[in-house]
């Protein structure tokens, strides 16, 4: 799998998990950069963000550190979450935890 394919796969998986959290609604890849709170402000409140953190940790078997990360930024959109996941996966790979 190429890096581009791998990157796309991460985004697809993130989009799918986020769609589940938002009640099974379909998410258009064209909206990946749109703030999830704008797409579904009722469901993607602060608790919805924490639900998303748990779902992403479960999906990718990674741990999200909240000491320095502002979740309103790192979990703002499908694109932002995917970027964070890719960084975490790279960390895991570099440290030999995978």
């Amino acid at each position: 799998m190429t890096d581009t394919q791998s990157s796309t796969a991460v985004t697809d998986r993130v989009r799918e998990r986020v769609a589940d959290l938002l009640g099974g609604r379909r998410l258009d890849p064209a909206d990946d950069a749109v703030a999830l709170a704008d797409l579904d402000p009722d469901r993607y409140d602060s608790l919805g963000v924490l639900d998303c953190v748990a779902a992403v940790e479960d999906e990718f078997d990674i741990s999200i550190d909240l000491v320095d990360d502002d979740l309103r930024v790192t979990f703002r959109s499908v694109s932002a979450i995917s970027d964070l996941v890719r960084r975490r996966l790279a960390d895991v790979h570099a440290l030999g935890w995978a």
Partner: protein, 299 residues
């Protein structure tokens, strides 16, 4: 505050919002009780980090009244905010939490392990298993003070372990209502409705059994009420709303423990017709946000 009392309103999620008035004396008395229960006086804590919204009684007490009583600073924190700044410069913080905050703190255990001691106060919701996990992860560095109360009564009881029975607050007496088992609370901190005379007792929907040693055990509520992230949701009302939207479907709400809300619920649809389940899913999406279930599935 109207010059004589503080006003706290319930959300109105199960009906009309209810406003409860508390006198400054009641607030000060409760803050003093909490400071004592947390063993926070005399340099016991050097600051408060509160996740609780100030417009709720619990948030007002932990974010304003208790810090004022102790003479320590308070930082108000969102569950989505980075926590490094919230604890900066503190060695012995009192943390006012609810389930969502516990979930946030669990992601910052490394930071918390660098503190000398944490008084972990938990209120406004059912304690989740994650709290015991967090206490274990902090390996004796954190002390739990779990609070039981309501906007109407204020603090009713407390416990220091997730498995312990509740100890009544020192200024209240408790009893079981004959026939129903509902909790009767008597004491000097009962709130009043606007324009109503002061009261010294209240009956809650909580069901308890009072032990011979004066402690009590909570066994649920007398109705199908849930407190989801501190907000009251009546499952009978949700089922009625779903029935009116999808008359042919039999949808039943089933309570569930949720790690970030304390309580939540799933909707089970009788029969395995995918189209009917999809209809109920659509109906759920049309409900007010606080009434929406965690999942919808075929029973």
């Amino acid at each position: 505050m109207d010059g004589r009392s503080w006003a706290f309103a319930t959300s109105g999620s199960t009906g009309q919002p209810v406003v409860w008035h508390r006198t400054p004396g009641q607030i000060a008395a409760e803050a003093g009780l909490l400071a004592d229960l947390c063993q926070a006086r005399d340099d016991g804590v050097d600051g408060v980090v509160s996740f609780a919204p100030l417009h709720h009684l619990y948030g007002h007490l932990m974010g304003i009244a208790v810090p004022t009583t102790l003479g320590v600073p308070c930082r108000l924190v969102s569950v989505t905010a980075p926590l490094r700044w919230a604890f900066a410069g503190l060695r012995r913080p009192l943390v006012a939490a609810m389930p969502a905050a516990i979930a946030s703190l669990q992601h910052s255990v490394g930071l918390l392990r660098g503190l000398d001691e944490i008084v972990l106060v938990h209120g406004s919701a059912v304690l989740t298993p994650a709290t015991a996990t967090l206490l274990g992860d902090l390996a004796g560095r954190a002390r739990l003070v779990d609070l039981f109360g309501s906007t109407e009564t204020g603090l009713v009881g407390y416990r220091r372990s997730p498995d312990a029975a509740w100890t009544p607050a020192p200024d209240v007496t408790l009893a079981e209502e004959p026939g129903t088992g509902r909790l009767i609370v008597r004491g000097p901190r009962i709130a009043t409705r606007p324009g109503s005379p002061a009261r010294t007792s209240a009956v809650l929907e909580d069901l308890v059994s009072v032990n011979p040693d004066g402690t009590f055990c909570w066994s649920g509520r007398s109705n199908r009420l849930l407190k989801i992230n501190g907000r009251r949701v009546h499952l009978d009302q949700v089922e009625a709303a779903l029935h009116s939207r999808v008359p042919g479907a039999t949808a039943r709400c089933q309570p569930a423990v949720d790690p970030r809300r304390g309580e939540w619920f799933d909707v089970h649809v009788a029969g395995a017709d995918p189209a009917e389940v999809a209809d109920v899913e659509r109906a759920c999406r049309s409900l007010p946000a606080w009434q929406r279930p965690r999942t919808v599935r075929a029973a």
